[in-house]
Amino acid sequence: MINFKAILAIYFHEIERTKRTLFQSIISPIISTSLYFIIFGAAIGSRINEIDGVSYGMYIVPGLLMLNLLTQSISNGSFSTFFPKFNGTIFELQAAPISGIEMIIGFVGATASKSILLGTLIIITSTFFIDLNIAHPILMIFFLIITSITFSMFGFIIGLWADNFEKLTLIPLIIVTPLVFLGGSFYSINMLPEFWQNISLLNPVLYLVSGFKYSFYEISDVSIMTSIITILIILLICILFIIIIFVKGYNLRN
């Protein structure tokens, strides 16, 4: 029988933790995004030509959104699983009658909810700086939700794998952030020489940013179907990893 109350207990426990760290979890990313809008949108953006028929301030919205969704989902997801290991409270999760799936739904659900809330607040914030029109709102919501869930799950895996704080921040800072910056968040890959265009196509984040751009402005670096398939493949890989982790008991039980 599914332990729904345990899922809700984990979910609301994590949400309460976010309330306690509101500045770090929500306000800080919004402030940094606003700074991006001020600098790249208003100050420098006014001197940059339109890209694919969209003003530069508008062009960077999907990329900034993706940057925050990815980094925050991974950071929050990894912290929420690493911390019980770090402070020892994981014993309670191990002793409680909770299955791996219930644990995942609780933790990933809470992290993804935070990311979705953050993404929504960033979109609202962007309207203070630009005239935002969303061409395909349902598709945009799909990308917002699926990206949040997928990368919260990725964060969950990192949290289980990490055995120190350095490892915890390693992947978001060293791998994910550069991939977002080089994934066409602030430019179209068509602006690059052909060689670098081909190299860019090896970056999975490019497909996610491109899908987001399409949902906002109907412009993209790759086809929308490729973007949808990419995010679904990443999601499946994360699910597969989690299944392996729970079957093997990796870093969860002795």
């Binding site: 345990a6 426990h13 014993f91 409680a96 002795n254």
Partner: protein
Amino acid sequence: MTNLISLKKVNKFYNNSYHALKDVNLNIKKGEIFALLGPNGAGKSTLINTICGLAYHSSGLINIAGLDLKKNRKFIKTMIGLVPQELHLEAFDTVFSNVCYSRGLWGKKNNYELVNNLLKKLKLFEKKDSLLIQLSGGMKRRVLIAKALSHNPKILFLDEPSAGVDVELRQEMWEIIYKLKEEGVTIILTTHYIEEAEEIADRVGIINEGRIILVEEKKQLLAKLGNKKLVLKLSKKLKSLPIFLKNYSAKLNKNGKELEINLDKSKNDILDIISLIKKNKLSFLEFDIKKRSLESIFIDFIKGNTK
């Protein structure tokens, strides 16, 4: 009393092939207080973690309330409460919210009245809105007990409940354990201290190097192992044991400055020994009667020195 927990030939290997539990056979009766004694690294926590489902056993059978642990792990966990040895708590949560969280994890509905009553019983009610980081070590241990009891477990595991706890709190904890026993909870505790086992346990088991080497009724065990010793701080160094003590189990410590004489529990021979020492004009600065720690008794036990 019927057996609530039954272990048959349970073995546990860790990934590095360390053999932590070796053919463990153990029965724990419903409603009893069972104390598991043993030195550090003996396998006490591994055994508890295995029964509680935190670690998986490699072979053997663990039966709880008539159910096989391997097949009914999730259901069996609903019956168990665990108080760990270390004070593992989330620093910035409040006492009340953290206890409610535990209740939720065990699939129970919110019940503020029950949690409040539990906090009152454990003398934590005044601190219900305090952050866990603000509590003393003793209070944190009580919070861990409250968390373990929040879902009304039938079996309560207490891993070293007296570790780092002052005498007053230890007494309070014993009272809590008695009350739980009266309510029908089966209690299994691990401890280093024979005093604790002496005070509260119905039966005692000794584990060493992953093997259960002894399970006995408390009274019988104390008769065997719980003897005391007379320790004399001598005025002058002695090179060897005085001949007049040849009939006693005695030894010299601290380069001959301290004389230690084991007392026989069945005879009240302290006065006899003191008068014997006076009669033989062996001067001493002070004397003390010490109860042997389980560690020392245990070392003697496995060396075969304890009769």
